[in-house]
Symmetry: C3
Subunit: 254 residues, 3 copies
Amino acid sequence: MNYRLNNLPERTVKPRGKGLTMVMDKGLSLREVEDFIEVAGAHADIVKLGWSTSFVTPKLKEKLKLYRDADIPVYFGGTLFEAFVIRNQFDEYQRVLDEYDMRFAEVSDGSIEIPHEVKCQYISKLSEQVTVISEVGSKDEKKIFAPYKWINLMRAEIEAGSWKVIAEAREGGNVGIYRDSGEVRQGLVDEILTQIPEETIIWEAPQKAQQVWFIELIGANVNLGNIAPAEVIPLETIRLGLRGDTFNHFLNKK
Amino acid sequence: MNYRLNNLPERTVKPRGKGLTMVMDKGLSLREVEDFIEVAGAHADIVKLGWSTSFVTPKLKEKLKLYRDADIPVYFGGTLFEAFVIRNQFDEYQRVLDEYDMRFAEVSDGSIEIPHEVKCQYISKLSEQVTVISEVGSKDEKKIFAPYKWINLMRAEIEAGSWKVIAEAREGGNVGIYRDSGEVRQGLVDEILTQIPEETIIWEAPQKAQQVWFIELIGANVNLGNIAPAEVIPLETIRLGLRGDTFNHFLNKK
Amino acid sequence: MNYRLNNLPERTVKPRGKGLTMVMDKGLSLREVEDFIEVAGAHADIVKLGWSTSFVTPKLKEKLKLYRDADIPVYFGGTLFEAFVIRNQFDEYQRVLDEYDMRFAEVSDGSIEIPHEVKCQYISKLSEQVTVISEVGSKDEKKIFAPYKWINLMRAEIEAGSWKVIAEAREGGNVGIYRDSGEVRQGLVDEILTQIPEETIIWEAPQKAQQVWFIELIGANVNLGNIAPAEVIPLETIRLGLRGDTFNHFLNKK
């Protein structure tokens, strides 16, 4: 850090077991990736190439190399997994992961409907090949799960081999753990946390108010996902209580 | 594309007669233009330097050259045309187009009031010099045209020489073909499409929900405009049914 | 400018006494700063490294140097001042300003509560070291000051040594001089302007509608702050009446 400030919340350092910032890249150029790494490389733990953007991204191998050379793991969004599965091309998906030398993959069912046992079989199978992150929650606004359901799904996916489970929101942040208004479903989150270790969950929190909410609930070292590249520095200051939004939260706890 | 996925909607390729993506550049630097071309050059068909930003843009000639060298036509926003017309400087506007070697120009009346015959005369006159894109619809929230009026205006402008007609929205997307809420005026769009060939219309659709709406109505190869540079890759995935928003739309049609 | 347009509002030029554009940098990379300077250097008068982002910004000295070499003054956001004060580290804050060779500093009380005399003492003290910009208004939505209070606070801070006073909004623009809806508190602004010279005030106006509102009220050369780097060119066109939003405002005044 550039100067000394006393009484900051303790922040984990990379490689982090918790306090992860997962970033969403939805089409950065090579030079923009370099810029991102310069500015946010110390704070970004893992990068998702959003949904199926990797399909139409030029210079994909060079891009993946830039992230890896900076020791930032990178993976393809879960919608890509789903796009292969719905087309009965899962084997080809596994070959694609190999071809691009991917070490991580996401398993989700936000857009497709598959029995949960089948989803867990995909998790098991892929976890022999890569580190699996799985996502719970639908992109469909009409599908609201009860808390016990979220807990059962998360637990089963962790048992099937997921390294972390992601609590789904869409990029705009209005489904899954959020209400239409973008507000967090607090009762749901509280109940999940009674059963699932918080370091195992990555909360998708693309909006600032959501980031603040989770940091105030869980602390500086909550895992947050779908962070825009330009928001990693702002998020880091929110984690440290150095932006107005959480300034007093951490001071009042001392 | 970086790997093979079956059953994707067919997408036209550049140079496209339909399925155009028109991008709004409101002040990119030269390096940012290079980055944009690297990432989105294969998907961006035409670039508008938004409204009168070209007036205060440094290194304008270098910028225009970057786009042209990448075979991406570029033009000045319609508000610039209007700024010259309202000052009785139309002749000077024509000289400016020549000075900057512009091959395209936009004719609009979003901020000025001119009789429609006069607008069509400008279209005729400019179409001897450049390829003309004309814009229908006012930036004024209080001016709501009936569908038959939209159709008459569009038809007259095409007859006067317009290559394409743009259905106006403001950058924020809340006038013209959209309600205050950003919602599309569906009845209006349906009626326009009964009379005007859809490949002749570019729908301004700066917001994702609007892009999704037009893609679901008209298909992967609808012409869309006022797309932010960083949204061209995301839009391309929406066109292909590879983002959650249109994932099931295209699959269900097979 | 790239071509001649008659009847534009007169615009001050750098270095400006009024008509300032204060830009918020919340984490640009070095290359992005270079790009920003290329595009907007002629229009950006002063840059704030937002709140405490300087704490976690890599290559901070190189970044400050880029701005200074372009003759754009740069300073740390007021929340950083507050972060040092609340920790009883004010002396250290002064040393940090020296270490980074800062010529400007912001004094604010958006997140901390200090008696106004104490705030003014900080302004006096710091104004011996640097040029001070002070900010009036709380980040707390529940703290609404009456107009006479705003005037007294501003006047006292100017007397204590502030070069300019900033009328607070948060980045999102929903506190201080704005209502929850982002709308400006017009009566408040009118009353402030009867007592405080307008060139002494920088109005935080991150949203376009707010920029338009102040430009229509005060003119092309109103001081505006918290402008996003990519919005400086658009703002310049709004100041000149060359974007739809203010197109007719300036013409009607001729």
